[in-house]
């Protein structure tokens, strides 16, 4: 019965249906390209977390974490869509490197605070992590753009 129904529909119409599916999938993916401000904000906040940890100001962590949550929620609400988690293998590897890097930078900053001082050592460590997170966010953004097949600014 279903086969009969299908036969009534021309092949062109079925192809049109497939084209409309592709068009809508592209439209959905275009909406999930992460904005630049998102990567920059998360990078800055992650750097601040390292800097505060290295400076021994752990009581301020809660504010940074709250800001991170606000940034994540804000991004999701602004887009009006939320993404299915489908990270590339390279991103997963990079994230696995970032976590030990976080602790290494905190420990490193505390070790060299005698040399650079109590301000510059944490700030340097925070700067390094910020740069690493920002580069990762740019890479993720680029991957999404390539996947979607749209150029920046389109």
């Amino acid at each position: 019965m279903v086969e009969k129904e299908i036969q009534n529909e021309s092949r062109e119409m079925l192809q049109e249906s497939l084209d409309s599916i592709e068009k809508m999938e592209q439209a959905a993916l275009k909406r999930v390209v992460p904005p630049l401000w998102f990567g920059a904000s998360i990078a800055l906040l992650a750097g601040a977390l390292v800097a505060l940890s290295a400076a021994g100001l752990r009581e301020y962590h809660v504010y940074i974490i709250l800001l991170m949550v606000l940034v994540l929620v804000g991004k999701s609400k602004n887009l009006g869509v939320s993404v299915r988690k489908n990270h590339s293998k390279l991103t997963v590897i990079a994230l696995c490197i970032l976590i030990p890097l976080f602790f290494m930078l905190v420990a490193g900053a505390q070790a060299i605070s005698g040399m650079l001082g109590n301000v510059w050592a944490p700030l340097s460590a925070g700067g390094i992590l910020s740069a690493a997170v920002f580069v990762l966010s740019l890479f993720e953004r680029r991957c999404t753009i390539i996947r979607v097949g749209v150029e920046q600014g389109e």
């Binding site: 129904e5 036969q7 092949r11 599916i21 869509v81």
Partner: protein, 103 residues
């Protein structure tokens, strides 16, 4: 073995577009869906309800800045049905299957 299935509920143009838009996403807001489809609130509601009735779609309401927002997402059953439907469409437009359609 994977069974391809032509789904008449999904195949209606607007419902097909709703499923196609939601497929790569976790969920999407009602207003976003409406804008992408270019249909009225009532038309979109009608199609969403039809998809919900067969268990392909789920709605969630959230309040933000005192405004109610509705989010829609495909269920696991809906994702499976949509994937099967797309596979079936691809199979049908494949020139190798043309003779079968013409018979």
């Amino acid at each position: 073995m994977k069974i391809n299935r032509f789904d008449t509920v999904i195949h209606a143009p607007n419902r097909l577009q709703i499923c196609a838009f939601l497929a790569p996403l976790e969920e999407a807001e009602f207003q976003v869906l409406r804008a992408e489809l270019g249909v009225s609130d009532s038309v979109l509601s009608k199609h969403i309800k039809q998809l919900e009735e067969v268990g392909y779609l789920k709605q969630r309401k959230s309040k933000m800045n005192g405004r109610q927002r509705t989010w829609a997402c495909l269920t696991r059953k809906g994702r499976k049905a949509f994937a099967c439907h797309v596979e079936e469409l691809k199979r049908l437009v494949d020139p190798a299957n043309q003779s079968r359609l013409d018979d």
